[in-house]
Amino acid sequence: MIIIEAILILFMLVAAVATSLFRDLISAVVTCAAVSLLASLLFYLLDAPDVAMAEAAIGAGLTTAMFVVAVRKTKRHEE
């Protein structure tokens, strides 16, 4: 079990670094959603299903949609 958690945390780190490095904001939003989704999986593995549900619905779902809408209505690429 601890190996799965370690792999999840590793992927989260990769996604988080990718989020900060991407110049294309849509890609950054998608990797940010991946961090949330992996965090929700991690919460589930750590026996916190309540938090996992909230993280999956709000972090990976609604927040991502709001970011995408905001990027669509402003500029897609960072300068």
């Binding site: 299903p49 309540d50 996992a52 549900m53 909230a54 619905a57 709000i58 779902g61 609604l62 949609a65 709001m66 809408v69 905001a70 209505k73």
Partner: protein, 226 residues
């Protein structure tokens, strides 16, 4: 130069976090109050899900504050993204057939799942906040599929206000019955049944409707802004 300063700042903040977190004995029984909740939570509140027992019964007042914070945030979004007087639908293209058909099929099931989560908050993991977020994501799907259609924003605010009022009214009824604000004045019932745990299901349904209407309203404000 700026990057070096930023790196230094990150290192300092990281070291601070490490020092603080390294001193917390994770996984060790320290707080008596946590042990009390785990041992007596189900008996005292009737809620099998201890997280719900803490959030709604023991810490109901905090939850009221949390809901208020969310309400203020939704009001702030509504004030900043004041809906344009003209309909913003003109230049918007329609979503593809796949999205429209998929959302038509999925929407009832998403709403059903959200309702299940918020009604069964005292029995299974989840509750008002989670169920409300799921319901709001169902409405998000509708917005994606039919971007031009105006939302039922009046219905959202009506549901939001009424469920907020219901939450506070249940709390005040607790004072009337002499058990204190947000206290439980209903019979606890049989454990593991849907209608058990006193006022917890009522409060969580109110919270779920409120959170769902608020988040759906925020999403609607964002999507409809041209």
């Amino acid at each position: 130069m700026r990057k070096a300063v930023a790196l230094l700042l990150v290192l300092v903040v990281g070291a601070g976090f490490y020092v603080v977190l390294a001193n917390i004995p994770f996984g060790v029984d320290k707080a008596d109050v946590a042990n009390h909740y785990v041992r007596n939570g189900a008996r005292e509140t009737g809620a099998v899900n201890i997280v719900t027992a803490i959030v709604v019964a023991y810490r109901g007042f905090d939850t009221l504050g949390e809901v208020t914070v969310l309400f203020i945030a939704a009001v702030g979004v509504g004030a900043v993204l004041l809906p344009a007087s003209r309909p913003a639908a003109e230049e918007k293209t329609e979503a593809s057939l796949i999205v429209r058909t998929g959302s038509r099929v999925l929407f009832p099931f998403i709403i059903l799942l959200g309702a299940y989560i918020l009604v069964h908050g005292h029995l299974t993991p989840g509750g008002g906040f989670q169920g409300g977020a799921v319901i709001a994501s169902g409405f998000l799907l509708l917005y994606l599929a039919w971007p031009g259609q105006g939302a039922a924003r009046k219905a959202f605010s009506a549901v939001e206000s009424l469920s907020g009022l219901a939450f506070v009214a249940v709390g005040i009824l607790g004072i009337v019955y002499g058990v204190g604000f947000l206290g439980n004045f209903l019979p606890l019932g049989v454990r593991n049944e849907l209608l058990s745990a006193g006022v917890i299901p009522i409060i969580y349904v109110a919270i779920g409707l409120k959170v769902g209407a608020e988040l759906a309203g925020v999403v609607g404000h964002l999507m409809e802004r041209p």
